[in-house]
């Protein structure tokens, strides 16, 4: 069946469904509307036909996601890729959802500004996708989440109503913050069509210090105690199996730790000196544009492997990982995954200690407490199916016991949440869905 015809768009808007496979499963059809009107028309028609729609940006995360039961239409939003309004002196920007993070970053950098958003594969990740995932990178605490930076949005509800909330100015409390609700909704409530963002000036200086560390150093709470109040831009811990994929990180130790600062040059210098006092001389120090490139490398790490758990902790130092970095955590079998060193840790950890999060396959952006773990440890090239199956539920329980709350389980089969949502919470979530997608058009319901 020609679904693109069914949903009322010209045949020239149909694109190859194979490009929109989710964990290997392609949709019935894929369309790429060329403008806002076509987008509204497509959603409206799909809703009328009771078709399940998944909005697509760059597919950076979605291609790893499990396809929903009703995967009828992939709605590619990259045809809407204009920067609508850029007011450098107001530090605001309004752009369509399909523009890439890299394109936005370049546009604002040309005027000495900083895009306060980070995304893995920024060359392909779109504004809409990054907002919908409320995605962030190593500088999450410094920049805020997309939800903190969005000023307003235009969106299309599941029954095809084009609406907006918020505005384009930096202070605005008129009406509900629906645009903030959509951040983190993963396209399950509405399609973000266009959004306005609050920008900031680029910092005068940036510096990155790269350390090779063993488990004991990472777990040592005293060594990190000062860091939260130093407000580092970056304080990220990279496990060995991930670090080995990029020559800039440490090889041969259990962890690479990156400490970074941004701001006035004398301040950055002072903070680097304080870091040296606490941690010693780094393996490598980068500054300026090289540091910025390193931040992107760090952001990219979360997309190096397939199925992924993303968790968040209020403890903003590497020592939050102490329970599993060294050998004394629950479910430990001698030396933990983190301590076994390069490469080989992946499978042994999964097989031998199924409930222990494999830290060699983890990235922890400690400055904001965000942890990405790849429980299967499959290589991008290998595909998830080849890896032995760890007990992900037990792993979640173990992480939860140490204060890590699950925010996203990408590409993983139904999990047993360590703290199931209350019935009141389920009702509230359902009410929000009813309000914005009453027909259940958006198939990736959360």
């Amino acid at each position: 069946m020609d679904l693109s015809a069914v949903i009322g768009l010209d045949a020239s808007r149909a694109v190859d469904p194979a490009s929109y496979a989710m964990s290997g499963r392609a949709p019935g059809a894929a369309v790429r509307p060329a403008n806002r009107d076509e987008l509204v028309e497509a959603v409206r028609a799909a809703a009328g036909e009771r078709l399940g729609v998944v909005p697509w940006g760059g597919g950076v995360a979605l291609s790893w996601e499990r396809a929903p039961e009703r995967y009828d239409i992939a709605l590619d939003l990259r045809g809407l890729a204009k920067i609508v309004e850029f007011e450098p002196e107001d530090l605001t920007l309004t752009a369509e959802c399909g523009v890439t993070i890299e394109a936005l970053r370049d546009a604002v950098a040309a005027r000495g500004l900083e895009l306060p958003m980070e995304a893995a594969k920024a060359w392909g990740a779109t504004l809409g996708g990054t907002l919908a995932a409320n995605a962030s990178g190593p500088r999450r605490l410094l920049l805020g989440a997309p939800r903190d930076r969005i000023l307003g949005a235009r969106f299309v509800t599941g029954d095809g109503v084009a609406a907006r909330s918020g505005g384009k100015v930096v202070k605005n409390v008129a009406g509900y913050g629906t645009h903030r609700l959509l951040c983190g909704s993963h396209g399950s409530l509405a399609v973000i069509v266009e959004a306005s963002l609050k920008l900031q000036p680029a910092p005068e200086a940036r510096a990155a210090m790269i350390y090779a560390m063993e488990a004991g150093d990472v777990a040592d709470a005293a060594r990190w105690a000062r860091f939260p109040r130093m407000e580092p831009a970056v304080l990220s811990v990279v496990g060995s199996a991930i670090a080995m994929r990029n020559p800039v990180f440490a090889h041969g130790t259990a962890f690479t730790v990156v400490v970074g600062f941004e701001g006035d040059a004398p301040h950055v210098e002072a903070m680097c000196a304080a870091t040296r006092d606490a941690l010693g001389t780094p393996k490598l120090k980068l500054a300026g544009a090289s540091a910025l490139t390193l931040w992107q490398h760090l952001a990219d790490l979360e997309e190096l492997m397939g199925p992924r758990l993303t968790l968040t902790s209020a403890t903003h130092t590497p020592a939050a990982l102490a329970a599993w970095a060294t050998g004394d955590g629950a479910g430990a079998t001698g030396d933990g995954a983190g301590a076994t060193g390069t490469g080989a840790g992946a499978n042994t950890a999964a097989a031998g200690a199924p409930s222990r999060p494999p830290l060699d396959r983890a990235v922890f952006h400690a400055a904001c407490g965000k942890l990405h773990v790849f429980p299967h440890g499959a290589d991008v090239e290998d595909g998830a199916a080849d890896a032995p199956s760890p007990d992900v539920d037990a792993m979640l329980l173990e992480l939860h016991a140490k204060g890590f709350a699950l925010t996203n389980a990408r590409g993983l089969a139904a999990l047993t949440p360590p703290s199931p949502p209350s019935s009141a919470l389920r009702v509230l979530r359902e009410q929000a869905r009813q309000a914005l997608d009453p027909n259940g058009t958006f198939a990736l319901a959360r």
């Binding site: 999450r140 409390v173 983190g184 009813q434």
Partner: protein, 501 residues
């Protein structure tokens, strides 16, 4: 339903005798917030102490189908805490505890009735503070701040209330309790929390709040520049931003305001200046001197007549006192005035102000301006003789035109006080019908019988289905807060400088 003594007895059983107010005098006090023109007497005022008590109260109110209007300190200028449909006013004043401070992880759980400034005072011993600082922070509550997503002078650099809330516990319309977000960044259900913050009590009653605390800046520098024209002051603000500097605060007072404040407080403000510009920078001491130099140079380039840099904390406090006393100064002098809370893009500030003055002049009215220049958040005061109904009417018309100008310039009708009752009709000018319809769908889904703060925010009478007088109350003075010289029991307290804007 009619109100009976049984109701009071039931409430006293739920909340204790001290938790229920029903005397005439008490009810009078809760008729309105700082929008005093709009008054409705509630049937009862309740003062719960905990989430459980709020939940019990909401179950009770649901059983009796009574509206519930939450209230913090009542400093809002938009009528958000006015019990327009009677029923229950839920005051959070007895929920004023700091529940837990975690200095290491730099966060705190607080009850909604905690006064904003008290939190910073409480955590100062840990070298921490709570950044959002609405000018009313000496009296306004964190719960009230959450309900309006309040701003303040320092939100230019540090962001508004929402940016500092990590999690909330909230009671829904049927008395069920949810926790949204948590202590960590982006904790589960932060998206729903983001919807609740700023919803003016129309979706849920927030009973516990987890806020992010920040390390106190190592150093602060406060500067005051004076200019011949207000346009020069506005250009200096833009120049600072264009130079890549985001100060902690940038506030402008026009000549009218400066004169009123100086006549009152005698703190050495130049009364012949077209405008004064207060700029504060904070952060690591090592970078601050350079920032002060750069900003001063920009002000000189725009033609500042003088530069004053606070030498010590006392002088800094005095400069801020001048700024934060502006509202009180107007209250002392004008017989009546309307205040607006509009926002325009920062780059159009000078043009917007010119329009404000011109619109007023055309009608023979005087205008004063004191505003958060860095954010483009204007608080024009349109002055008139309260005994002259013709003048009052034209002042009201001017106020509407000023807000329409804000919309036309790409801005909005409220930067920090919320929509409440008074800006409700302006919502249809700011938003299209479909935009408002979707907001209505959200309210109707989460607050299905419309009893949580009924009628607020959305035009057309709002959600209280048993209410009959909603439409009649779509009154004429939308978008501007009328403050007569004597306005009964709700006058801003004299003992706290009256810092309300």
């Amino acid at each position: 339903m009619s109100w009976t003594s049984d109701h009071l007895a039931e409430l006293r059983a739920l909340l204790g005798p001290d938790g229920v107010l029903a005397s005439d005098a008490a009810l009078f006090t809760y008729e309105a917030d700082a929008l005093v023109l709009e008054r409705t007497r509630p049937d009862v005022v309740v003062l719960p102490r905990s989430t459980d008590e709020v939940a019990a109260l909401l179950r009770w109110a649901r059983a009796h189908q009574l509206p519930v209007t939450p209230r913090g300190a009542g400093t809002g200028l938009a009528g958000g805490a006015t019990p327009e449909f009677g029923g229950v006013v839920l005051s959070v004043n007895r929920m004023d505890q700091v529940l837990r401070v975690d200095p290491e992880r730099m966060l705190a759980w607080v009850q909604p009735g905690l006064v904003n400034l008290w939190l910073s005072q409480e955590v100062a011993k840990h070298g921490l503070y709570y950044a959002p600082d609405p000018a009313s922070q000496q009296v306004s509550t964190i719960g009230g701040n959450v309900s309006t997503n309040a701003g303040g002078p320092h939100c230019l650099k540090y962001g508004v209330t929402f940016n500092h809330v990590l999690g909330v516990t909230a009671v829904l319309h049927d008395g069920s309790v949810v926790t949204l977000g948590g202590e960590a960044c982006d904790a589960p259900d932060s998206d729903l929390m983001a919807l609740i913050v700023g919803s003016e009590g129309t979706l849920a009653i927030v009973t516990e709040i987890c806020v992010r605390l920040l390390p106190k800046p190592e150093a602060v520098k406060t500067m005051l520049f004076d200019f011949t024209t207000i346009a020069q002051a506005c250009r200096t603000v833009s120049a600072a931003i264009a130079a890549g500097i985001v100060p902690a605060a940038m506030e402008i007072m026009d000549r009218h305001t400066t004169t009123l404040v100086e006549e009152w407080l005698h703190i050495g403000l130049p009364t012949d200046a077209g405008a004064v510009l207060l700029i504060e920078v904070d952060g690591p001491a090592v970078g601050l001197a350079v920032q002060v130099e750069r900003i001063s140079a920009l002000a000189v380039a725009e033609g500042t007549r003088s530069t004053r840099i606070a030498k010590d904390e006392a002088e800094r406090a005095s400069l801020w006192k001048g700024r934060k006393s502006a509202f009180g100064a107007y209250g002392r002098s004008a017989s009546g005035f309307y205040i607006m809370d509009g926002v325009v893009p920062r780059t159009r500030l000078a043009e917007a102000l010119e329009t404000v003055y011109r619109l007023c002049e055309e009608r023979g009215l005087e205008a004063g301006n004191v505003f958060h220049a860095g954010d483009g958040n204007l608080h024009p005061h349109v002055l008139f003789n309260a005994d002259d109904p013709v003048a009052q009417k034209s002042a009201l018309e001017v106020s509407h035109e000023i807000l329409r100008m804000c919309i036309r310039f790409g801005g909005t009708i409220s930067g920090e006080h919320g929509v409440g009752i008074e800006k409700r009709p302006m919502m249809s000018e700011l938003f299209a019908a479909d935009d408002l319809a979707v907001m209505g769908r959200i309210r109707d889904a989460v607050n299905p019988d419309g009893r949580l703060n009924p009628g607020k925010i959305l035009p057309g009478g709002g959600g209280c289905r048993e209410g009959s007088h909603a439409d009649a109350r779509e009154h004429a003075h939308a978008g501007a807060t009328f403050v007569p010289r004597s306005h009964g029991g709700q006058r801003p307290r004299e003992d706290v400088e009256g810092p309300w804007i």
